[in-house]
Symmetry: C2
Subunit: 223 residues, 2 copies
Amino acid sequence: MNSADIKLLKEGYLLAALSQQEFEEVLTHAGVFTLMQNECLFDQGDPATHFFFVLSGTVKLCRIAPSGEEKVMDLVRPGHYFAEAVMFMGGRYPVYARVLEPTRLVELDNKHFLGLLRSNADLCMRLMSTMSQRIHGLVNEIDNLTLQSGAQRVIGYLLQQLPEGTAPPSVRLTVPKHVIASRLGIQPETLSRVLAKLRGKHLIDVHDDQIVFNDVDALRCLS
Amino acid sequence: MNSADIKLLKEGYLLAALSQQEFEEVLTHAGVFTLMQNECLFDQGDPATHFFFVLSGTVKLCRIAPSGEEKVMDLVRPGHYFAEAVMFMGGRYPVYARVLEPTRLVELDNKHFLGLLRSNADLCMRLMSTMSQRIHGLVNEIDNLTLQSGAQRVIGYLLQQLPEGTAPPSVRLTVPKHVIASRLGIQPETLSRVLAKLRGKHLIDVHDDQIVFNDVDALRCLS
């Protein structure tokens, strides 16, 4: 493993919680290898002995249904782990793994990693803290992605309704919110969340059906 | 707590890993209450004694920088926890929490929940398994969302390049792909993945730098 590999591995959420000493200890039980295009890493139903980290390339995780149909469950790219959820639970891989292109992987030993966790409750807590922070970060990212376009439409609509010369600039919503949402092609909950977000940023104030604009220029930039 | 509250709470990732008995045990140390608009739940720097789950309403988490500037870190909505990452680490709330509207909350006792985790390594493993599954699900969702908008930009760009009257309709990419990606504000890998996806759906064929459109109308609908 070169220093770039180690840096990438250290940034992955699962090992980020480890101290330098713990990290080095884990590395002594880790292997690096490359699979060629279409090579299989493990089969559905194999005993789960390792979890993995992708250094480069792409791993496809598929499940074969009892009907024989194949379902792609995940495409794992560089910087991401896989098969670590099944490590925590023990048992067998619920999917099979094949690489889509030449792919470099780190293989980490389940038994060793679990032993480390079981002997160190504080490490478990640190890991759970990192994981919950990561969940919050991802939920926020999704929120931003889905709200972005929704917010642009809402702001555009509100600015359109703005009568000239009111001070402070404000809009009275004369149609029910679900009608506005439907007109903008968004869910009513998205409308509420966009308004909450704009309020949270102090860009607007909401008093019943009256929306006061605290910063029209900033809103124009966002629309 | 009514049965709808309990159902929502049970679906949140943190308690989903608990057995029915463990869940009921946690409930004996939980409280439900409502805060009115703008009420403060805790202050930045307060000792972190509880973590929370939003039943309805919105909680704003803000951090005050040494400069005095306020930064909104998170808007927490129904079905989501907050302050659980700091629970795992102990210490003080790094943010303050205020509600944007009348908000119903469940308050859970850190000391009790941590005691439960520290006395039960298997529960820790179950919880880490749920959390890593949740992380995978969220990463996938983000992938789909970014690919979606990426695809729209790529298709829009390709359609713009389409010369009139070629049969079959096709585009020759005269600039390198990384330049196109940068012009579209997406990663080169996203461009490759979008093209692969469109090829997979038989909407386009790619021959070296030549892209043949198999169904211009379908592509227009997607852009």
